[in-house]
Amino acid sequence: MDQIKEPIICVENLTAAYEETVVFDNISFDVCKGEVFVILGGSGCGKSTLMKQMIGLYKPASGKILIDGQDIVSAEGSERLKILAKIGVMYQSGALFGSLTLFENVRLPLEEFTDLNSSAMDLIVQMKLKLVGLKGFENHMPSELSGGMQKRAAIARAMALDPQIIFLDEPSAGLDPITSAELDQLILNLARNLKITFVIVTHELPSIYAVADRVIMLDKRARKIVAEGKPAELRDQSDNEWVRQFFNRKVSSNIP
């Protein structure tokens, strides 16, 4: 990727805390346009908290999160909706609406937020489902689909309004290696062709190597970002022992 790096998400001095426990303290990073950005870290380090703050679900203790120049932390009302229109989110288990068919699930945001006519919406929904390889499953209920299909459908729904940024929470958790690889391919395809920015929370090393342009790593003890860069570089060259262990899947020698 040789285009000019233009940040689309800027996280500035972000602190998260539950009651008295500080999860991470004063972290800052940028995500560039069209980048596949992965948030890593051990269990309980606040990856999900960070993501939920970035999509505006949780309020941070302090700090700013600028999405395309607007702060999602302080935005309210229509301003907030405008920011939310720029992002799409896929939740860990899909979170498709169980009472709607796949087709209706993807169509819902189009119905609510665009002025497209009915046949136009139908076509776009089919195109989105085609994109994630679920053409022919339009009339299925989410409960009739496998886990991988539900995740892909959730990506289709997140993409319905063509957002600039898509957040994925553990996209490949619980998927078989083949489906997981297909999903990686899909993410790369969308990032390269549609210039969609992806922010992904995941643990799956193979898929990190496959898709990530850049990763950040959070550490529970240090409560900050301990590493930032390309995954292959971090694996081979990081001066932090724990980071190298993480990427090499080694057992920590100093487990208490």
């Binding site: 609406f97 169980g98 009472s99 087709f103 189009l110 937020f113 665009t114 002025d115 497209l116 006519n117 046949s119 136009a120 139908d122 076509l123 776009i124 089919q126 195109m127 989105k128 085609k130 994109l131 053409k135 339009e138 009339n139 209920m141 989410p142 409960s143 993409m159 309004l161 063509d162 395809n189 062709n193 549609l194 210039k195």
Partner: protein, 376 residues
């Protein structure tokens, strides 16, 4: 022309073909504004070959591609050809991901319209299926209850007492309020006509008999069906959806023994107690009216003792036990029958309350007949 406006114009090129020229952004907002215009332009052209000039498109997302695909599809359907020119390479790459031919035949299923005989058949089958599953459940429950009675140590009493508190004790305020008001209203309504005959004091008889025999147990059961039975169905339903029930079965724990028996026992213990409170509050409600009419309390109490017997009270309490079995049993059985998804929990809860009400009323009727023949 500013970058924000998207325009669409038609014309004819050197070869005499109709051209549709799109200039500006093709994102979901702007595309929807020119969608209809584009379709109209294509229809008006009604030409064998149409050229769509997109050299002026500086941004195009999935919706924009959708427009181009739709134009292609329509033109092909009309038997013509459509050529897209000038699309930038990055958008062309996007366009290449979609083959218009693939979207030609897809049909979205319209809601299926059933005919009357089919509907009747389906309804009959559902009812039959329903009855069967209730009977199966009743059988399982009885087996589990009998084994619980034979081996009381196996019952999880800690859970049962907790449920007795949340499902029973916490229902006391609402049951007390409703019983008190029902007693008061009934006494008031009865006192007006009875006054004409100077028979206000017999309001006490009316309140005592109707509350002990009928309204106390019935109102308690109705409140419990709306409150506790629904809670059971929702809780067990959510457990079913979350595969917690499956987990229990594979661990070798019988969900009926583990979840249902504790709930049924808890409610069986609580129902008579709640009914006694309901009776008491109903009678107190009635006394308010008679006191305000100038009768001393002792007269009211005297009338009640004369008119009502222990048989009336016990008959009501026995009935409340049956109601308790229905309330807890139906709530649990509907919860366990929950299918998948969030809406299924709503369906189960609704069914629990509705079938609870129906069964309570039917059972009440049966008790009335039985008591009549037994002379209670």
């Amino acid at each position: 022309m500013t970058a924000n406006t998207t325009t669409l114009s038609t014309g004819t090129n050197e070869q005499g073909n109709v051209t549709i020229t799109i200039v500006g952004r093709l994102d979901s907002a702007s595309t929807s504004s020119i969608w209809q215009k584009a379709m109209d332009a294509l229809e008006e052209a009604s030409s064998k070959s149409v050229v769509v000039d997109t050299a002026g498109v500086d941004y195009c997302d999935g919706t924009g591609i959708g427009l181009l695909v739709e134009l292609t599809l329509r033109q092909r359907k009309a038997g013509g050809e459509l050529e897209i020119t000038g699309l930038r390479t990055e958008f062309q790459r996007l366009m290449d991901m979609f083959d218009p031919a693939e979207f030609e035949k897809t049909q979205i299923e319209k809601p299926y319209k059933a005919r009357l005989p089919e509907e009747v058949g389906r309804a009959a089958f559902t009812i039959w299926d329903n009855i069967r599953s209730q009977i199966t459940f009743l059988g399982e429950l009885i087996v589990a209850l009998v084994s619980a009675v034979g081996n009381p140590r196996r019952v999880r009493w800690k859970d049962a007492f907790l449920i007795a508190e949340t499902g029973g004790v916490n229902a006391l305020p609402i049951i007390a309020l409703i019983s008190f008001l029902i007693g008061l209203i009934m006494a008031f309504q009865a006192a007006i006509p009875m006054r004409q005959f100077g028979a206000e004091i017999f309001v006490a008889d009316l309140i005592a008999l109707s509350t002990l025999r009928e309204l106390g147990p019935l109102m308690t059961a109705i409140v419990m069906a709306g409150r506790t039975s629904a809670a059971f169905a929702a809780e067990l339903g959510t457990m079913k959806v979350n595969e917690e029930i499956d987990a229990m079965s594979t661990m070798g724990l019988d969900p009926v023994r583990f979840l249902v028996v504790t709930r049924v026992l808890a409610i069986l213990i609580m129902m008579p107690l709640l009914t006694i409170f309901a009776n008491l509050l109903g009678i107190i409600g009635g006394s308010v009216v008679l006191l305000s009419l100038g009768y001393p309390l002792v007269t009211y109490v005297d009338r009640i003792i004369i008119s009502a017997s222990y048989g009336d009270l016990l008959g009501g309490l026995v009935k409340s036990l049956a109601f308790g079995l229905i309330v807890a049993g139906i709530g649990c059985s509907r919860g366990l029958q929950t299918k998948t998804g969030a809406s299924a929990v709503g369906v189960s809860t609704t069914k629990a309350v509705v079938s609870g009400f129906i069964l309570i009323i039917i059972t009440d009727g049966i008790f009335s007949v039985v008591y009549f023949y037994l002379g209670i």
